[in-house]
Symmetry: C2
Subunit: 337 residues, 2 copies
Amino acid sequence: MKNINIKELASELNLSVSTISKALHDSHEISDKTKRLVMETAARLNYVPNPYASSLRGRKTKNIGVVIPEVADSFFSLAINGIESVAKEKGYHVLICLTHESFENEKNILKEFQGGRVDGVLMSVSGETCQSDHINDLISSGVPLIFFDRICDDVATAKITTDDFESGYKATEHLLQAGCEKIAFLSISNSLSISNKRLEGYLKAHTDYRLNVAKERIVLCTDDNAKNYAAIKALLQQSLTADGIVASVEKLTTPIYKACAELTLRIPQDVKVVCFSNLETASILNPSLTTITQPAFEMGNTAARLLFTSLEKANFDLTKESTVIPSALIIRNSTSQ
Amino acid sequence: MKNINIKELASELNLSVSTISKALHDSHEISDKTKRLVMETAARLNYVPNPYASSLRGRKTKNIGVVIPEVADSFFSLAINGIESVAKEKGYHVLICLTHESFENEKNILKEFQGGRVDGVLMSVSGETCQSDHINDLISSGVPLIFFDRICDDVATAKITTDDFESGYKATEHLLQAGCEKIAFLSISNSLSISNKRLEGYLKAHTDYRLNVAKERIVLCTDDNAKNYAAIKALLQQSLTADGIVASVEKLTTPIYKACAELTLRIPQDVKVVCFSNLETASILNPSLTTITQPAFEMGNTAARLLFTSLEKANFDLTKESTVIPSALIIRNSTSQ
DNA sequence: CTGAAAGCGCTAACAA
DNA sequence: TTGTTAGCGCTTTCAG
């Protein structure tokens, strides 16, 4: 059952190609009878139009690009669900591109997109990204791009974020109120908006509670989990130690728990832990984990919705459409009792 | 910085379009000098070819489709990593399509692919799929398709699986040896190959250990986590109860742990649990979870590699290329001590 | 070594 | 209401 094209369909029906095309698009200039005939025959012969042939004629590829650092992360996989749900509704497909936190990869991906592989892009920048020419280039080449979660401040487009500063503040305040005095902050990037804002919230909470922050307790983690594990162990062993940890990213959960087990530190008695995390298993960890849970699905969904309205309405101004959706602090046993 | 096309690039250099095209493809019939000139100008003017225009001329879209039930699952997100790593190496892009365990969705996606949106497909069938015409149609329309993990037996193509029967056997045997006598099996589909083979392993272990299986302890779970939770609770409460659980799919972990907590059943003293799971957090759960861990990355990677060789070599016979990669039983505290 | 021209599958202006 | 034709951006014969 070879796939048939519009020409073969036309000759099958002794109609012209353009009549077929119009009929398939339910054009008003085709009689109902012909439409029905065309539709039926198309179905019978299993005709499926080539989307890229139509895309050439100025129409759309019906593909959107999603550029993210990784998939094996609850936040991103839930965000993808949010994106996919609206893409499907709009008859679009989702091209997932992974940067693996590399700026180089990110640049290459966006460059490629300039050639017209996708109609629009949703993106969370890599941990290395601190420059935005590649993004501005893509946008000015006519491909709309919207950020979600991890943004670039100096790109003029819509940004769907969560309240990172407030969340960093809330997490830290929660630990302070639970009696911690030596709270560490685990960051994953010096350039990343989310990391910095969460850190600012952490710092502000300390200021408000008239507590000093020791620089040694602000630890930059990497993409390498073994190194992160070592860094966390070092943090918990060094002379200053720490009696509380705010981890700004989900994947640090396992190294933290393992480091504590290894050092026979009890959570929460010796160290209290709160993680930015969307892990479903947070509630069944040992002990259950206090989290800042981001509205991952909703963020992806909102970003995608916005992208489609900008694709549908010409001259829609994305600049004015940024949204902040709040995260929730969910208190569990890693910080209390 | 509007994106430039090959025509504009040609007129910029006072060369013909075909010369440009050949130069860009490093054709031997173009002088080195011209090639260099073209390359440089292309880079300077930020020329990026339109992949779909080339695809029209018989070449490839450089997109592959990945059809899976969901992304928010460690197995699938790790498998995507395995697929993406080879796609990237080959200059390909990955279109992720989610069936959400719906046969209807799956059919629509494959139908759409027949139009030429992708050059090849990697797929794990939905839990509802028990019929394979839609798959055979796609393949016979000329789009190669390879299964990974969840296969359809009656489709003649390569299948990258893990040793589901043996794993089901090993998991059950492990519980039997730990002293369980009333082991429940949580399935997710009656039609799914993996579910059935794991179940067969479970049954065979019982036969070999001369134990009867109570039908009530084989529970069909669904896509609905709330219902699963209720079903598991019912299972643990009913007169026959269960002193061991083999869960054939990762997402049942949380409902199992919660149901036990709710019923104040202790794991592993009252109920021992083993899950098919790639959760990174398995080791830090309360208690840590014994798992059958699948070679997710490797399965995706192998499937993708195979797809590309079939894309590269004409008449490559996928039928002869099925591979079974073994899973590992990782014993932790949910079944011992 | 370079260029002209046809055509991939489709859409859309323009004719009929 | 239907058909003819040009052309989207590119590759690829075939001529020069």
